[in-house]
């Protein structure tokens, strides 16, 4: 095992999967010659050639739309959207076709498309480089969604996504692309979709998060460690969702705080809360709190820290529910 940064683990997964299956191809803006604006696709074009790592025209709907046809020709396309907010032009293809085409063929054809993109805020960038769009994707039937928070998961979930016969969208938390470093198994390595990760065991309050919010929860848990024992559930696979681990933790602690970077209304935190309100109502010993981004345009970066769920906001929510 080698230590890798999160973005290096992504790159590793792509190298392994392209080597493993020659029907896998990578496509997107600047993924070839430049190796991706975050260098997530570095070395692929040199190693696998221009047919397996394609610099496309600047057209996100074109990327995802041609990927549908590529599947019909036997390819497994891995499409990069250069940034979260620049993926929106592909939503039409995603909703009308990518999520429905397997169904439309009576289950006969498969569309093993992977869409991956750096996402999320806190990176001191101009507007539209900071969005957390997972709701748009996870609400769409036929689509699966994964969001890693560690280098190992970044590799393993991406590998699982590429090998999955269904379309999977992987959001990579760019804020921690180069701050999260960890052991990553070499070669073939898959983290199955649909299993949450208990990032930390605890007994008093359950923190539910994914992506860059997991380290925030960890820091909040550290701060509170003397008073409150926090369990942290890293959802990591939003669909399929590991309800079992979620409900088990809620039943153990009876107190839940959900942390999500996206705007609040119908963010994925709402789904988690709704599941708890239905399936864990007798276990709950306090309100289910959400610490989220706000229902406002993602702000100018000088004040973005006031938007992003912070250690303080998370800690305050934990204390509130712990004392309830």
């Amino acid at each position: 095992m080698a230590e890798k940064l999160l973005v290096e683990a992504v790159n590793d997964a792509l190298h392994v999967e392209l080597a493993r299956d020659d029907s896998v191809m990578v496509m997107g803006e600047d993924v070839g010659r430049a190796g991706g604006v975050f260098r997530a696709t570095a070395g692929l074009v040199e190693r696998f050639g221009e047919n397996r790592c394609v610099d496309t025209p600047l057209a996100e709907a074109g990327i995802l739309g041609t990927a549908v046809g590529l599947c019909m020709a036997g390819w497994k396309p891995v499409c990069e959207m250069q940034y979260d907010a620049f993926s929106y032009p592909c939503l039409d293809q995603l909703i009308t076709h990518v999520g429905r085409y397997h169904w439309r063929t009576g289950g006969k054809m498969e569309f093993p498309i992977t869409v991956r993109m750096p996402y999320g805020g806190g990176v001191r960038a101009p507007e539209l480089h900071d969005d957390s769009p997972e709701t748009y994707y996870v609400h769409t039937p036929g689509i699966k969604v994964a969001i890693p928070s560690t280098p190992a998961d970044a590799k393993g979930l991406l590998a699982a996504a590429i090998r999955d016969p269904d379309p999977v969208v992987v959001f990579e938390p760019k804020l921690i692309y180069r701050t999260e470093r960890g052991e990553v198994p070499e070669g073939d390595y898959v983290v199955p979709l649909g299993k949450a990760r208990i990032a930390r065991e605890g007994t008093d309050v359950t923190l539910v998060a994914y992506g860059a919010m997991v380290p925030v929860c960890e820091r909040a848990a550290d701060e509170l460690a003397d008073d409150v024992s926090c369990e942290i559930v890293d959802i990591r696979s939003l669909r399929p969702l590991d309800e079992e681990s979620l409900l088990a933790s809620a039943s153990k602690t009876g107190r839940v705080v959900i942390v999500q970077e996206a705007p609040r209304t119908v963010g994925f935190g709402a789904e988690i809360a709704a599941i708890l309100a239905e399936k864990a109502i007798l276990d709950l010993r306090g309100p289910v709190l959400r610490v989220t981004g706000y229902d406002v345009p993602y702000p100018y970066w000088k004040i973005e820290d006031a938007y992003m769920p912070s250690v303080e906001r998370v800690a305050a929510a934990v204390e509130r529910v712990a004392r309830f």
Binding site: A61, G65, G69, L70, A73, Q93, T96, W103, D166
Partner: protein, 335 residues
Amino acid sequence: MIEVAQRSVIDEERELDGVGEQDLLDIYRSMVLLRTYDERSLVYHRQGRIGTYAIFWNHEAMQAGSAHALADEDWIFPSYRESAIGLLRGIPPATVLHWWRGHPAGWWNPADYNVASICVPIGTHVPHAVGLAWGKKLKGESACAIAYFGDGATSEGAFHEGANFAAVMQAPVILFCNNNQWAISTPISAQTRAETLADKAVGYGMPGVRVDGGDVLAVYEATREAVERARKGGGPTFIEALSYRAAPHATADDPRVYIDIARVEAEKKNECLGRYERYLRKLGVLGDDLEADIKAEAAEAMRAGIAAAEAEPDPDPELVFENAYVHPPPNMRDG
């Protein structure tokens, strides 16, 4: 490399290289089958036996002429306007009728016929066809693809992005635009300011050609050229087939509030099947008996088709959960 003059064969009485009597009659059979499908479907709709239906009367020449230029390995990407084009590839009429009946038996396996699913949203299948063609080329296979869409579709971003990918990737694909001059109630003059839709090819750096969409042989010829070029590595072609929508947009539409009825009547008189029949008769290829036989055969196919469709049991509501995923999430049935 844009041909702006509209190509014709029938009116000019040109003979096409390599097109023998057999071809002429195959094309005729295809047109009759499509016409019969369309006319019967309208009746079935009025009888409440199928749902809303998008009429393609007078579009048969564009569909049959272009499809005849393809090899079986070539993929067809239809819009709702070409819902029955799969019949020319062996899809049973019952299947397509099922589609319009909202019955899951109307969904076929595209790979069985190299015919993609019917595309309902405008223009979004253009990138699919391009991707398929590009993907085949990357695999070293020789298949092409054809995407059918209307004049209105050329306004959509999806058409544009697909066309640009096609040219950049030199994908072996034919972008076949059925310019029936209407997008529901919107005339072509409110859709584009371009003089011809074939002009759009210039901006993508691909060949563009305009044909008389009521002339099945002109359509065939133009498509054959495009297919040959594509197969030789010459990349995509944009074909504009000029025609006129002589029927309502679909069964739910009342065109009287927007269309020029006199023009519609004129178009009806010159509709594509009659034109081709007169041509074949003049050539001596078609006579009364043969025509009657071919039409009876098509009518019989449709009679059998609707009977088969109606004999199909109502679908199991459980199918709601089928085929959403290859590996469905465990809570998919929660609701």
